[in-house]
Structure formats: C-alpha cells, structure tokens
C-alpha cells in the first residue's frame, strides 16, 4: 500500500516522516540527514539546487538563494509582515498581479508556493528513494496562525510538487498527535514551540477525538538563531577585549566560531561548563592567534535570559488572557505541555516552562522531529494504518523480581511496548532449598526494597538439590490491557505458581515521573550497593564451591594446599557479611586463584596413564563450545 508522507514544512528546516509498522519514523534525506534546510537556489549555470546544497552556495549567490519563503507564502504584498521581512531578505520580491508576493529567482518571477513546491519536491524525491516506491499523498503542517489564504497556498505548493494533499494540519496539533494526546478526553494542552527563527505558543483543547486550537500567540522573529547570535556577539566581543582583533570581519573565523558556538550551546544542555577551542582562528603581525574561552551554562543563561523571559511572558498571556488574545484558562488548568523546537533542549527553558505551569513538560520525543512525526501519525490515521485496537501502550516503569541480596532484577525494561512476554531462569541460593519466594516489583531503583511491590507468592515443592542446581523459570506476561501475569515454574517437577496483577500500568503520570526521578537521583548510590551485593554473592558462591571441591577431592590435594585453602575460606567467611567491599573482593580473588590449585593437584595425580583420555575430553568440550 502506498504511504502518505507526513511533512513538517518549516521556516528554516523541513522534515518528512512515514508510518512504519504502526509507528511514525523520520526519513533521512539524500545527504543522510534527518532535516532538510528549507532553501532553494538557481545556480549561475541555471541548475536548481535545494536543501543543504542551496545553503552551501548561498554566500556566492545571495540574490538567487531563497530562504524563509514560509514567511511570505499566502500573504498579500501589502501585508505589514511582508514589508518588515522585505528589508532583510537578500532576494528581490514584488507584488504579483493579484496582490500577492512574487520572488525573483534566476530570470523568473515565481510565487512563494512555487518555491515551497521545490522544497516539497526534494522531500518527495528523497522519501521515494528511501522507501523504494512512489509517494503521491501527503499531510503538510502549517503554523496554527496561518489563515485560509496561507493554508490554501501551502496546499497549492504540495499540489505543484505532485502530491495529493490529504490534510493541512496545524503544527501544534501534529505535536499533540505525536504524543498520542488526541486519545485523551477533555484535556487542555499547551504547545511551546521555540524554533530556529520563530516562537509559537498554542493552546489546544481535546474533546471526543477532535483537537481544537483555542488560542495562539508568539513572536515571528524570536528563535534559536537569535540566541546563537547573542552568544557569537559575546564571544567576538571577548576576543576583541583579550586579543584586540575583530573576528566579525573575517568570514572563515566567523564561520568556525558559529559552528563551535552551536556545538557549545548543545553541550551546555548537558554539562555546566564547556570550552570553545579554535586553534589558529586568525593571525596578526605577531603571528597566529588561538581562540580559547571557557563558557559556563550560567553565563549563557545570563546572556539570553531576556529572550527566554519574553517567551514565557507570551506563553502566560496566550493561556490566561481572555479571547481573542488568549484562551482564558488558568495556568493550573493546563493538563499537558509539549516542547517543540531544538532550542527547548535548553535546561533553562525547560525549568521556566515547568515553573510557569507547575508541571513537567512532555519532551520525550525529539523536539526537532515531533511535528513531522505527528504529521505521519495523521497520515497513518488517514490511510487506516493506525487502528484503535492496535494503538499499543508501553510499560512506564521496569518490571522484575527481587533476587539474592535484595537486588532488583529487571525482566521487562521500561518503555517496552505491550503485550509482551519475557522469561528468565533463576536458581536457589542454599542447598536443599525447597521453596522460592517471588517478589514482583516495579520501578527503576537497583535495590529491591526501594521499588514498589506489586505482588508476591511462594513456589514450593522444589526437589531438594545443591544450591544453583534447580531451575526455576520466571515468566512475565503483560497483555494489551496492561494486566501482568507472573508465573514461576520448577523445570524439574513442572510445579508452578502464579499471580495476576491488574494495576501494573495504573500509575499516574506524576507517580511515574517521581519514581523515575527518584531512580535518577539515587543511581550512583544504588549502583554501589548493587555492586556490593554482587561481590558478596560472589564470595558466598566461591566459599560454597571451594568447600565442595575440598570435600569431593580433598584427599588428593596436598595437605599444605588444603590447609591454605581452608584458612582463606575462614578469612573470607569472617569478613563476607561486613561492609569492607574492597577487602571482600580481594579475598575472593585470592581464594579463586588458590582453588585452581585443587584442579592442578587432581590433574597431576591423574596424569600419565590417562593422558589420552583427557585429550578426548578436551576435544569434546571444544565441540560443545562451537555449538553454544
């Protein structure tokens, strides 16, 4: 079945996605990149170039390189927005016969929709190459503030590109679809979209499967690029102050600084400080100069605070002011907040949004891709791919059981799509242990007691055997409704016991978030504890095998070796329940080295007459190795 392409036709960048196996997926373009610059150019030779290649040649050909055409599409030439943009655009525009805008490219005057069509054509071509088939239908997103004329022009662009445009979808609605929020009942959603060149905020209301845009706001000239520019200006200023050279006059230096700044900005989303290091950035009479500045996140935040504050104020207005300026809602009435646009990776923005609404915003989907993914979801609904019964849930937290030493062993990892079945084989911790207790847990902490117990049961009737011998298979099954069935079965006797847990997914979003954050906060300490338990378990197991080896083959082991091993076992036993993990680890290693002497002694005793037999045994073992 031919796919419908979901397209985010952006001001600076565009992206395309399709539904594959019921899930939306971004398609990489010909250059192997997930987003395509929304740029078109006619080269001097008269060739048309689009996307990344158009961007690369922009400097040599500014008057024939068209960008930001989305700012012009469907507008009248007399529109004040057009008047404002006309001043800074590097290409020529004029009024068309019917009062619209015309753009000069090469020796022709084209309408904005014809330019947009060229971008859409590239997306179409690349998607077809990627999927290996023709694509004739598309869902294209537009800003929520686009009026009928702008929507019609975007649709026309799609048609010129050869698409049958199935739907023109508002961007915030697409974002809500990507998060599956259209399935919620009577929710109020705010979409905070800080893009490269524009800032949009939208208030949506979902009721009985329809998503309605209740209010829109924003600033068409506020975006991530502005933040970059502020940072670049600051860095240029710093270099001028320290080295007395103005980098803004040097195109290559500025370009290198731009790239380094972008990288630094990304790094500051995860680290508190970064270093911008550009060797040989420029030279003067005294020789080469290097650029080396440490940049703290706090400094960057200070520099751009005004812009972020502005976006927050606009968001507040759009939500709270009464119609038509805003949605007339209380901030506390908002159920969900979605972050869109690469700039929302900035921790400060996430914090400020959270502070405004007193809630954690949704940001699990890549903010550069969420709109295109949502367009693909809409495409999927239209082509009938996404049936309600096949909208599958995921496990919000990991599920597993408690194992030796109070460790949480995960059986089903968080974010696994359900229905799912997984099993793992466990054994006993003591000799002749005839029952095991299965403590079913949910959570992310590595230590069992800090997670939530969903249920517990005992499997008894296990045949007496040395520790580690019995095989108890524990299987977890979560069905499509989130009902968890846990079953433990002794493989020898086939005896089994199970528990059914209804509410394995019935946690509120806040609970889940709290549990996740809790796990994150305690990660290092939990990990240490778990390691300690594992070391203790290892010590325990080694003592057991050593004692067994001495019992079984002790008479063949020289007395001195035997007593040495016995001493080591005693030493390890003394400390193994204590807290000095390093010591337990060392002693375990010592004992482990020592007990190999038992084997050595046994082999020495047997050596000679039975050598041939050993060889055979070894061969046999090798064969087994190959099999496994």
């Amino acid at each position: 079945m031919p796919k419908i392409l979901g397209i985010d036709l952006g001001t600076t960048n565009s992206a395309a996605a399709v539904i594959e196996g019921g899930e939306p997926k971004i398609l990489e373009n010909e250059e192997g990149v997930r987003t395509t610059p929304s740029m078109v150019a006619i080269s001097k030779a008269g060739d048309r170039v689009t996307g990344l290649l158009a961007k690369r040649q922009a400097v040599t050909n500014p008057e024939n390189t068209i960008f930001s055409v989305k700012r012009l599409i469907g507008r009248k030439f007399t529109d004040p927005e057009v008047g404002r943009d006309k001043k800074w655009l590097s290409y020529k525009i004029q009024a068309s016969a019917n009062g619209g805008v015309e753009i000069k490219i090469g020796d022709k005057w084209l309408r904005p929709e014809e330019i947009s069509a060229m971008i859409l054509q590239k997306l179409k071509r690349d998607a077809e190459a990627k999927l290996g088939g023709k694509i004739d239908e598309a869902v294209i997103t537009v800003p929520a503030y686009f009026d009928d004329s702008q929507r019609a022009a975007t649709k026309a662009a799609g048609e010129i590109a050869g698409f049958n445009v199935k739907r023109i979808l508002p961007e915030p609605t697409a974002a809500a679809l990507a998060y599956g929020l259209n399935k919620k009942k009577d929710e109020k959603i705010v979409v905070y979209d800080f893009g490269g060149g524009t800032f949009d905020v939208s208030v949506l209301e979902v009721s009985s499967d329809t998503v309605e845009v209740r209010a829109i706001g924003g600033d068409t000239h506020l975006g991530g690029d502005d933040l970059d520019q502020i940072l670049i200006n600051y860095l240029v200023g710093e270099f001028k102050r320290t080295d007395g050279i103005d980098l803004s006059k040097d195109a290559l230096a500025l370009q290198r600084l731009k790239e380094a700044t972008e990288k630094a900005k990304h790094e500051l989303s995860t680290t508190l400080e970064t270093e911008i290091n550009i060797p040989f950035i420029t030279a003067d009479a005294s020789g080469p100069r290097h650029f080396l500045i440490k940049l703290a996140r706090a400094k960057f935040e200070d520099l751009v605070r005004d812009l972020v504050t502005k976006s927050i104020a606009l968001t507040r207005e759009t939500v709270t002011l009464s119609s038509p300026k805003g949605a007339g809602f209380k901030l506390s009435e908002i159920d969900e907040i979605i972050l869109v646009g690469g700039q929302t990776r900035m921790p400060m923005i996430q914090e400020e949004v959270k502070k405004l609404f007193g809630k954690e915003p949704n940001r699990s989907i890549n903010p550069d891709e969420v709109v295109a993914l949502g367009a693909a979801v809409q495409a999927g609904i239209l082509q009938g791919d996404v049936k309600d019964v096949l909208l599958l849930d995921v496990t919000p937290l990991s599920l597993g059981i408690e194992t030796l030493g109070g460790v949480f062993t995960k059986i089903i990892e968080k974010n696994t799509t359900i229905p799912v079945s997984k099993s793992q084989v466990f054994s006993t911790a003591a000799d002749n242990q005839t029952s095991v207790e299965v403590n079913v847990l949910q959570g992310e902490r590595e230590i069992a007691q800090y997670n939530k117990t969903l249920g517990r049961f005992v499997l008894d009737g296990i045949a007496p055997a040395p520790r580690g011998m019995p095989q108890v298979e524990v299987s977890f099954d979560v069905d499509a409704n989130g009902i968890l069935n846990v079953k433990a079965r002794d493989k020898a006797t086939n005896k089994e016991q199970s528990v059914r847990i209804e509410a394995s997914t019935g946690l509120s979003k806040d609970d889940i978030e709290k549990m996740r954050q809790d796990a994150e906060a305690h990660r290092a300490e939990d990990h240490k504890k778990r390691e300690a338990v594992e070391i203790k378990n290892q010590a325990d197991a080694l003592i057991y095998t050593s004692e067994k080896a001495l019992r079984d083959g002790g008479d063949k082991v020289p007395a001195d070796v035997k007593s040495e091993i016995e001493n080591k076992i005693a030493e390890l036993k003394k400390i193994k329940d204590g807290e000095s993990i390093e010591e337990i680890k060392n002693k375990t290693e010592e004992l482990s080295r020592l007990i190999s002497k038992i084997g050595e002694a046994l082999y020495k005793k047997d050596a000679g007459g039975r050598e041939a037999e050993y060889e055979d045994v070894n061969k046999e073992e090798k064969k087994d190795d190959n099999k496994s």
């Binding site: 196996g21 019921g22 899930e23 250059e31 192997g32 080269s43 001097k44 030779a45 170039v49 290649l53 158009a54 690369r56 040649q57 922009a58 400097v59 040599t60 050909n61 195109a251 290559l252 370009q255 290198r256 019964v389 096949l390 599958l392 974010n415 696994t416 799509t417 359900i418 229905p419 799912v420 079945s421 069905d479 499509a480």
Partner: protein
C-alpha cells in the same frame, strides 16, 4: 444461507428446531468471538514484538556505533602521543600531520582538492566571495579556506572555500 432461511421460515417449524438453531448460532458466535479475541491478541503481540525488536535494534545500533568508533580513536591516540612529543621538542608538526592523514586514508577518509576547481555545492561550502578580473575564474574556487574531506565516496565535510565572482565592467 439466506435461501435456506427463507425456506425454513416458510415451513412450519417446531419450537424444538428453532431452539436448536438458536443454540447452534450462539455456539457459533462464541467460537467466532473466541477466535476474534485470539486473532486480535496475536496481531497485537506480533505488532508489539515488531516494535520491541525495532527498539532493541536501535539500541544495539547505538552501542555499535559508539564502540565502532573506538578502533579509529585508538589509532588517533598515536597522534596525541606524537603531539605530546612535539610539544616537548617544538618540532615535527609536519610529520604528525602526515601521520594523521595516513590514519584517515586507511579508513577511507581523503581530502577534497578544491582550489582552482569549479565551485560545486555538493563538495564545497561558500564562505566568502572575491571579485576576480578574469572571466574564467568566475564561479571557481579561488581559495581553499578549510579543507574538505570525503569518506569513501561520500562527503564527510565539505571544503570551506572562497569563490570568484567576475563583475562585468560597464
């Protein structure tokens, strides 16, 4: 079968017969319902399996990519070694450069020759333009500001170049 039903209706059917028929239909319906449940569950599981397999695949690929780089980075440590030596002796930069280029070459990474070639946005990124007096230098790379690199036949990084613009004297 509609025909059959019509016939049945026309006949005078005993109550017994109707009851049997109803019972049979109920049973059939139950079988159908059960089958429906089974197929739906099977379908959902197949789809969930697919999604989980894809997630697993993505995770594995991420890990693969992360550690696949390790072998190259390991070789690059030679460069760091050499640079540390060079810093001590203030010498040998050229040799380190050649050493680095050789490592790159072994991994299929080669330099793009740009200067004097026709500007091609597939290989070059224009950073600056320079007015030229000769018409044949128009749209040619007049200076290679930062070298571009290919990985096998794909562009790893385009060259940053200065492009000649011929202005016709009026």
């Amino acid at each position: 079968m509609p025909d059959e039903e019509i016939e049945l209706e026309e006949e005078v059917i005993e109550e017994e017969g109707l009851k049997d028929k109803l019972k049979k239909m109920r049973e059939d319906l139950n079988v159908c319902r059960k089958e429906k449940e089974e197929y739906l569950a099977g379908w959902q599981r197949a789809k969930a399996d697919f999604i989980n397999a894809r997630k697993e695949e993505e995770r594995n690929r991420e890990i693969f990519v992360k550690f696949a780089q390790a072998s190259i980075l390991l070789e690059f440590l030679q460069i760091i070694d050499s640079l540390e030596m060079a810093m001590k002796h203030d010498d040998g930069i050229k040799q380190i450069y050649l050493q680095a280029k050789e490592i790159l070459k072994q991994h299929g990474v080669t330099q793009i020759e740009s200067e004097g070639k026709k500007f091609d946005p597939a290989l070059h990124e224009a950073i600056e333009k320079a007015e030229v007096n000769e018409e044949e230098k128009d749209n040619m790379v007049v200076e290679d500001l930062q070298k571009g690199w290919l990985i096998f036949e794909k562009v790893l990084r385009p060259a940053k170049v200065k492009v000649g613009i011929f202005k016709i004297k009026s």
